[in-house]
């Protein structure tokens, strides 16, 4: 481990003034608030036909379509609430179809906390327009003006008591028009469903053993497959005698294509037994290609990088004396879904269908079509719920596995599920990262200069190109991944949330994008925001301490945005920040961020308990406040934020992908431990600051970064020791 520099006034501050000038980019806030062109709201812009979103048949049955996926975030329920509100019907009367390349609009990936902003907004405007069209048709039919009509429970009802069913009004392709995004939305004063904690539609099946997951699909004649992965990324198959394996009970095929190996059997455990036999029979040629694990941060620091300006002030440190600096580091971390990735595929009559828990069925279809060399219109990808993914895990790769094996056995549905060690060792991780923060405190106790850099491998290697699918690398004619590219601002990848939201004059922020990728990496919940917010919010705490200021006051001192100030005050107040009773081996910590600087605002205060002897930290109490704009389902928001807090606590306190020079060695839950029930907090409270009538702000990832920083800040408060390396480890 290389030493972490202490936060002390820097004697090298004078050097900073001579840094290279960086070409201008806008400040994130300026980007966020730039006057929008006249665009349709949300995903209507991309799919502007009303009937792509809402259909009503002559019996009055309502179907709503979304290109987004249920990932356990409760999106189905929230979208039904929005549609039912605007159509003035009961939520039970809406049938919602989620991402399916044959049926739904293409909304790209379900990622980046975008679903409510993109799909929720589109469905809301589409439903409001549908309601308006239905009322207009009823007005024409009844010969009265629309002011005398209202929609209610699947009918348009007139003041005089006459009523017409939706089904009787939809003839002549009433809803087959362009979306206009102009219809009046239901006034917040009249909400029946928006803002209410409606129970999630998917939970009853999930607690009673209903068919709830792609893992539960049972198609007639379905066969079970298991893949056999090489022992490491670059191992090549030297030899394998599959003859005896092909004769094992139930085995229908042993599939080999280059370094790609799989078995297909009638029953699932027969496939597992055959997989184990292939693993025993196969010999691989392997060599050390990975960086020295103990020197991974030296490796990262020494890699050539592309310098991408994020905020282009000079840093404002020239001539300053009271300069502080700190370096923070994060180990590789994994999504670590509880259910290994799974998919079912069937190739029949020249058409391939893939049931998948992918986050993006349209990009996956493009990748699979390229992989199996079919035209895209012969491939259909249907999203079915899976185990929570938290970003780009093995879902797409398993879809590709199922596709390849279904193509090998035409006619048969083939179900493939990865084994635990395959998920752990082959999913794309969240990149190791290094950040360096320098700042000057002015005589007024405010931050007078800020110079920050973040260095990371990519956070975006999703499917789209077949070369990003793991099975494609292993085939006899492999596809290679395209060179990684940084995701653009304002959302960004490694530089997501690298720009502080605080008012700081002349700030400079740079992203050092490393294109090398020794360990497979991609999007892990909140991408670079987790590390950038951890760094900025830890550093803010260090600066507050140096300025002898209360950390909450110090943040407020640098924030003008009233919504940012409101979540900070709500979290501090809910926690009892000013009256915090100091206790032995306990500490309090605070953190704030606005996710991506454009989505939900979140602040939280935490208390930790430190066991110095056992070198253990327990998150004991958490009070968070979140502003997600208009809250469609406040309980859904609370569930997401509570979950984000606990997951982030797990990552921050426990998680690091282990590897040696040759292979990943985190292959199960003992070599990659995560948070357990024995250490859960006593209390996690989430206040939702609802903003009726305001735009939806993405929420699902908002807690990741602030939680990490709040924990580190609380440990510093309890022990006087500042921990800057994730996972945080007490000395």
């Amino acid at each position: 481990m290389s030493a972490v520099r202490r936060l002390t006034p820097s004697r090298r501050g004078f050097l900073l003034g001579g840094g290279a000038l960086i070409v201008s980019f806008s400040l994130p806030l300026a980007i966020a608030e730039a006057p929008a062109e006249k665009k349709l709201p949300g995903s209507l812009e991309r799919s502007p036909k009303l009937a792509s979103w809402i259909r009503i048949d002559e019996r009055g049955a309502i179907t709503v379509f979304t290109g987004k996926c249920e990932l356990g975030q409760g999106i189905k329920t929230a979208l039904i609430q929005v549609a039912a509100e605007e159509l003035a019907v009961a939520p039970e009367s809406i049938h919602l179809v989620t991402a399916d390349t044959a049926l739904t609009p293409n909304e790209g990936y379900t990622a980046g906390s975008h679903s409510m902003q993109d799909s929720g907004t589109a469905i809301r405007y589409a439903a409001a327009q549908a309601r308006s069209l239905l009322i207009g048709a009823a007005a024409a039919q009844l010969g009265i003006s629309r002011e005398h009509l209202k929609a209610q429970d699947g009918e348009v009802v007139a003041d005089d008591g006459r009523r017409l069913r939706f089904g009787a009004l939809v003839k002549d392709e009433l809803l087959h028009v362009a979306a206009d995004g102009r219809s009046d939305l239901t006034d917040a004063a009249h909400y029946r469903l928006i803002g209410k904690p409606v129970h999630r539609v998917d939970i009853p099946a999930k607690v009673t053993g209903g068919s709830a997951f792609v893992h539960d699909l049972r198609l007639p004649g379905m066969l079970h497959a298991r893949v056999v992965r090489p022992p490491s990324y670059h191992a090549t198959l030297s030899g394998v005698d599959t003859t005896p394996i092909a004769k094992m009970p139930g085995v229908r095929a042993v599939h080999r294509e280059g370094n790609y190996l799989a078995v297909i059997a009638e029953h699932e455990y027969q496939a597992v037994a055959a997989m184990l036999a292939v693993e025993r029979a196969a010999t691989w040629s392997d060599s050390p290609t990975l960086p020295e694990p103990d020197k991974i941060f030296d490796w990262l620091a020494s890699q050539p990088s592309e310098r991408i300006p994020v905020v282009n002030g000079s840093g404002g440190l020239t001539g300053r004396t009271n300069i502080f600096e700190a370096t923070y580091r994060r180990a590789y971390q994994m999504h670590a879904s509880i259910g290994p990735s799974c998919a079912v595929a069937q190739f029949e009559n020249g058409r391939l269908t893939v049931w998948t828990h992918s986050q993006g069925v349209f990009p996956l279809r493009a990748a699979i079509a390229q992989l199996v060399q079919l035209p895209a219109d012969k491939v259909r990808c249907i999203q079915v719920d899976g185990s929570g993914c938290y970003g780009h895990n093995g879902a797409d790769d398993a879809g590709a596995d199922a596709a390849l094996l279904a193509m090998a056995l035409p006619g048969h549905p083939v179900r493939v599920q990865w084994m635990r060690e395959q998920e752990h060792a082959w999913e794309p991780y969240g990149s190791a990262m290094i950040t360096t923060a320098r700042a000057a405190l002015g005589p007024d106790g405010r931050i007078a200069g800020w110079d920050y850099s973040v260095r990371s491998c990519t956070h975006a290697t999703r499917a789209g190109p077949a070369g990003n699918l793991l099975p494609a690398w292993l085939l006899a004619h492999p596809s290679t991944p395209p060179p990684p590219r940084p995701l653009p601002l304002p959302e960004g990848g490694g530089h997501r949330n690298a720009a502080p939201l605080y008012s700081i004059p002349d700030a400079r922020v740079v992203y050092e994008f490393v294109s090398a990728m020794p360990l497979r990496v991609s999007a892990l919940r909140s991408l670079g925001a987790y590390m950038n917010i951890f760094s900025i919010e830890s550093f803010m705490d260090e600066l507050a301490r140096a300025a002898k200021a209360d950390p909450v006051d110090f943040r407020l001192r640098h924030l003008d945005d009233p919504r940012a100030r409101a979540v900070i005050k709500a979290a501090a107040e809910g926690f009892g920040w000013p009256d915090y009773p100091r206790r032995q081996d306990h500490g309090r910590g605070f953190a704030f961020a606005r996710y991506k600087n454009v989505a939900a605002y979140l602040a939280l205060a935490v208390e930790v308990e430190v066991d110095r002897k056992a070198r253990r930290v327990r998150l004991e109490r958490v009070v968070a406040a979140v502003d997600s704009g208009e809250a469609v389902n406040p309980d859904g928001i609370q569930n997401q934020i509570e979950g984000g807090i606990l997951q982030s606590a797990s990552m921050t306190l426990h998680e690091r992908v282990a590897f040696d020079r040759t292979r990943v060695t985190s292959r199960d839950w003992s070599s990659y431990p995560i948070l357990r029930f024995s250490e859960i907090p006593d209390e996690v409270r989430v206040h939702v600051l609802n903003q009726p009538g305001a735009p939806f702000l993405g929420t699902g990832e908002a807690a990741q970064g602030p939680t990490a920083a709040a924990i580190a800040n609380a440990i510093a408060d309890a022990t006087g020791t500042r921990l800057r390396d994730i996972p945080l480890a007490l000395p």
Partner: protein, 163 residues
């Protein structure tokens, strides 16, 4: 042929006795509740009750279960008529992705069957073998607490009557 009792029904299955119970439940018996998580008894996604105890079905060879009573989450209730603990999970909205939940419910059911009023620390300790990645722990904890209170409430009059 192996005969075992699953959710109150005698079931005969013709499989290699080494086959882990999980694959028999999901395959031969077409039950969705128990989930494959790790295959080595480290996560609890596959937990079921065997003769009243929570057991990881992924590491339990079916050949060892002749004449034993297996209960899965399907045995506690249905969507239309959920059991007390299942209802508590619905009331607390104690799921995100839900993949771990059936295992959580079965481990918790085994606790409540033996100890209807567990302390907070007994719940934490008992549930520690089961992993949840979405971070739904606080709600799962509350759901178990809620079910415990419901059981207490139901049991109280009987207890008084018996006193």
């Amino acid at each position: 042929m192996i005969t075992l009792t699953v959710n109150g029904h005698a079931q005969q299955v013709q499989v290699d006795p080494e086959t882990p119970l999980l694959y028999v439940l999901r395959g031969e018996l077409a039950l969705n509740g128990a989930k494959f998580g790790c295959g080595v008894g480290q996560c609890g996604a596959c937990a079921v009750m065997i003769d009243g105890a929570a057991v990881n079905s992924c590491v339990t060879p079916v050949g060892t279960l002749r004449g034993r009573r297996v209960v899965t989450v399907e045995g506690l209730g249905t969507s239309a008529k959920p059991g007390v603990l299942q209802q508590a999970f619905i009331d607390e909205q104690a799921a995100q992705c839900g993949y771990c939940i059936a295992g959580m419910i079965m481990r918790a059911q085994a606790l409540l069957d033996h100890n209807p009023a567990p302390s907070d620390s007994e719940i934490r300790t008992h549930m520690a073998p089961n992993l949840c990645r979405c971070g739904t722990h606080m709600r799962i904890f509350r759901a178990i607490r809620r079910a415990s209170e419901a059981l207490e409430h139901n049991a109280a009059p009987r207890r008084e009557a018996g006193a």
